[in-house]
């Protein structure tokens, strides 16, 4: 324990603690009612040997001032960098209103909205969230959200298996983010389904390779990315039809920010859409909390895991909202539930709902135009330095792209770090990725380019 005071400073044991309102008199009254003479009586049923009698290896209780100081200490050990990286976590702008609404205690300190009569606030924003995610993904229905993108892909895999009885295999395109593949592999190993990762061809999903696997008849479905790990926008035409003709399903793993301008999973003919919604203004926050999403076509709604909110009326005929289709869930169906998930990232769903409300269709287009423009400018400038070659010539990208670095990748990243930039994420074989969002300025891009141009080959 690092923040220990080495000498144990005894605090007065009778000192009241701000979060516990118990006076001696209160304790006496409560014990009396419980028919006990001491606090020890509350644990009389615990075998003596299990009662912890030592000193906890924790720091002394701190005041708020000391807590702030400890966090300052920790924060000072971090380096804030100008982020030119993505790979599943994007540095987008978020209007000031969003964190304000998000931190309101009526939302923050509520439980899952089981008691609908006193939870209409939560239920309504989830309903709005479901509407927005259905719209962005071009799907009929959405659940109330999942933990993160990679786990949403794992849930989508199990959902495809549940929707296609008697099939046992899921295919993944190698162009998915590595962490997505690794999480699905973990779930597959223990849940017990076969998983095949189909290698990419020239930086994009191998559609022919995927379709070629369908003949055996054991494939429940495939997950392919809309924008892939190299930043390339994939052309998924023909894939849904091929999958469906073998009674298999198509899931598209998407960046919902980009879906404001790119062809939606629904338009590609997908059955399920999943992915990471952090790109909708959620702070980078060292990886979490983020927001997984999962949407599907109407016919699969009963196999959709997680919470779902539906509209109805109350006894007075007023429009109201409730958690619905709960018979799918673990508290009712136990081991036969569609999933073990019994929460959502509700507050993060509020975050993106307020974000999308404020941004609207125009704002989302602007975010994408600014990111696209900056990324393409950086792409050009980097090639001009002579330190890179095209990795996948001419393939379309939005805000993230891959190049083959002629400088060793670790050295490249190190030089950038020294100058306060985080970028050039190595993907192996000398391939590195960069990402530009609307938060990066032209000056920053030029400065980054200058740093790289100054590195000797």
């Amino acid at each position: 324990m690092l923040p220990h005071t080495l000498i144990f400073l005894p605090r007065r044991p009778e000192m009241a603690f701000a979060y516990f309102p118990h006076t001696d008199e209160d304790v006496k009254k409560m014990l009396g009612k419980a028919g006990l003479s001491s606090m020890d009586g509350l644990y009389a049923d615990v075998p003596e040997k299990f009662l912890f009698k030592g000193e906890f290896d924790l720091p002394d209780a701190m005041s708020e001032t000391e807590v702030r100081r400890e966090f300052e200490r920790l924060a000072s050990m971090n380096t804030r960098l100008k982020v030119f990286a993505g790979a599943g976590a994007y540095d987008h702008y978020s209007p000031a209103v969003v964190p304000y609404i998000f931190s309101r205690s009526e939302y923050l300190t509520a439980y899952t909205p089981y008691q609908a009569e006193v939870s209409q606030g939560t239920l309504r924003y989830i309903f709005e969230y479901q509407t927005m995610m259905s719209e962005l993904t071009g799907m009929d229905c959405s659940n109330a959200s999942m933990y993160d993108g990679p786990t949403s892909a794992a849930e989508a895999s199990m959902m495809m298996l549940a929707c296609t009885k008697r099939k046992s295999k899921v295919l993944l395109s190698e162009t998915l983010l590595p962490q997505v593949i690794e999480v699905v592999e973990t779930y597959a190993k223990y849940h017990g389904f076969a998983l095949t990762v189909i290698p990419h061809v020239g930086g994009v999903s191998d559609k022919e390779g995927i379709i070629g696997r369908l003949a055996a008849g054991d494939v429940a479905g495939v997950i392919v990315p809309g924008i892939n790990r190299f930043g390339i926008i994939e052309d998924l035409s023909g894939l849904a039809e091929a999958m469906h003709s073998s009674k298999a399903l198509l899931t598209v793993y998407s960046d919902p920010s980009a879906l404001a301008v790119l062809k939606s999973p629904g338009e590609w003919g997908a059955d399920i859409a999943c992915g990471e919604a952090q790109s909708l203004g959620i702070p980078l926050s060292f990886g979490g909390p983020y927001l997984g999403f999962l949407t599907c076509r109407q016919e699969f709604v009963r196999k959709l895991p997680g919470r779902i909110v539906g509209e109805t009326t109350d006894t007075a005929g007023r429009r109201s909202y409730v958690l619905t289709l709960q018979a799918r869930e673990q508290h009712i169906r136990r081991e036969k539930a569609t999933s073990n998930i019994c929460s959502n990232q509700s507050l993060m769903a509020l975050y993106v709902t307020v974000y999308l409300s404020l941004m609207g269709p125009e704002g989302m287009k602007d975010v994408n135009s600014l990111s696209y423009g900056g990324a393409h400018y950086l792409h050009r400038r980097l090639l001009e330095t002579g330190r890179f070659e095209e990795a996948f010539d001419g393939k379309p990208f939005l805000k993230e792209f891959a190049l083959r670095s002629l400088i060793p990748a670790d050295r490249l990243q190190e030089e950038l770090l020294k100058a306060g930039f985080f970028g050039a994420l190595p993907l192996g074989d000398g391939i590195v990725t960069f990402c530009v969002t609307e938060n990066r300025t032209k000056e920053e891009i030029d400065a980054l380019t200058d740093v790289i141009a100054s590195i000797g080959l």
């Binding site: 009569e117 973990t186 979490g288 081991e335």
Partner: protein
Amino acid sequence: MKYYDKLIFELSKTGRRGYTLPACKWEDGLDGIPENLKRNHAPELPEVSEPDTVRHYVNLSNMNFGVDTGFYPLGSCTMKYNPRINEEMASHPGFSGLHPLQPAETVRGAMELYRILSDALCAVTGMSAFTLNPFAGAHGELTGLMIMRQYHFSKGDTKRTKIIVPDSAHGTNPASAAVCGLEVVQVKSTANGTVDVNDLKPLLDDTVAGIMMTNPNTLGLFESEISEIADLVHAAGGLLYYDGANMNALLGKVRPGDMGFDIMHLNLHKTFSTPHGGGGPGAGPVGVAGFLREYLPYPSVGADVSGGYTWAKGSHTAGRISGFHGNFGVLIKAYAYILMLGRQNVKNAGPYAVLAANYIKESLKDCYKLPIGSVCKHEFVFDGLADAPEGVTTLDVAKRLLDYGFHAPTIYFPLLFHQSIMIEPTETESVETLDAFIEAMRKIAGEAAENPEILKSAPHNTPVSRPDETQAAVHPILKYRRQS
């Protein structure tokens, strides 16, 4: 609380904006994207101004009940006070701007926090190592079971495909087991509500991976025979999993690691005061005994020779279970809470929670049916009204409580009783609050006898009355459709 009937879509008007962005200075528009990769038409998102948006979401929030609004005695959910210092620390820009893939040397503070919090959780639970990656309690259960299976796999033991779960367990236990590919075998409870050791014995053989236990269990009863259960399961080659859902009863008093548990999860949003957020984000760290350290999921935080930190991967790791390293913002809040508690206050957390539960139980047992009368832990279960008139149910009691300004307890769980009312007060409520709740519960019991109709039609003072759940489920409306 006031009824407010708008959806954000209904405030939308073409041309309104709620954001500001710098003017576009790039030559490239989106025109460079091939047409066949573009959306056919812009998504139908609201077009609203900033003030209208603020008012909308404030109005919506006014229809919500939270811990900050009033007493929330929701059994098994540990709705304790959520300190504001936690929130302040979680929004510290020194953490919120960190990219999860930044090199270790640029995120030493964040990695140190991960490490210190893991150590603190070890201290209060008696486990040897923790992963903070799982996102929620259910995710922690799944991760813990993966570790259990991986342990058996690594010994070449592939036939352990069953998991024993008590009939009083939360539904999540069997569901997590099923997702983990395990077959659930149920062990019965005795009349006293604890695991029936005689029923357990014949279930134990070399096909059993382990047992999942919640202690105290969902009835709020301490499993006093835990020593014997641990010995039996270990002797059969199985492992013991501790479901930390009810850890609040034991915080500062009893450590799962000392009771023989090999793997456990904690709900930081219960025991360590991070807010529930209307259903998440939470965090479900998983702790293990020393011999399972190498089985934790990756990435984990390791120490390097120079006193810094590195990302590590155990030699027998169960795998990757999260995109990055958990709900980091939630971890910050839990760490702030632990610093405030310190070694002094932590000792009172569990005992005060248990005291409050027993106080309510003893104050109400004359008007509500108490199936098991012994000293409870942090929560207990009534089986409905002691003297229920025909047709008055636990649901009616719960709904009537809303009228009195209290959140309802957990109802119809555990399944062992037909009219379960599960009450958990936590250690952060004053005796005056508990007294007011007790008074309301007694009034309701009186109303049930004198004027049952007022219960059956409750709630009367909430933004909406009972919604028609049947209609919602038969013809699901799951998104907004513009009136044409």
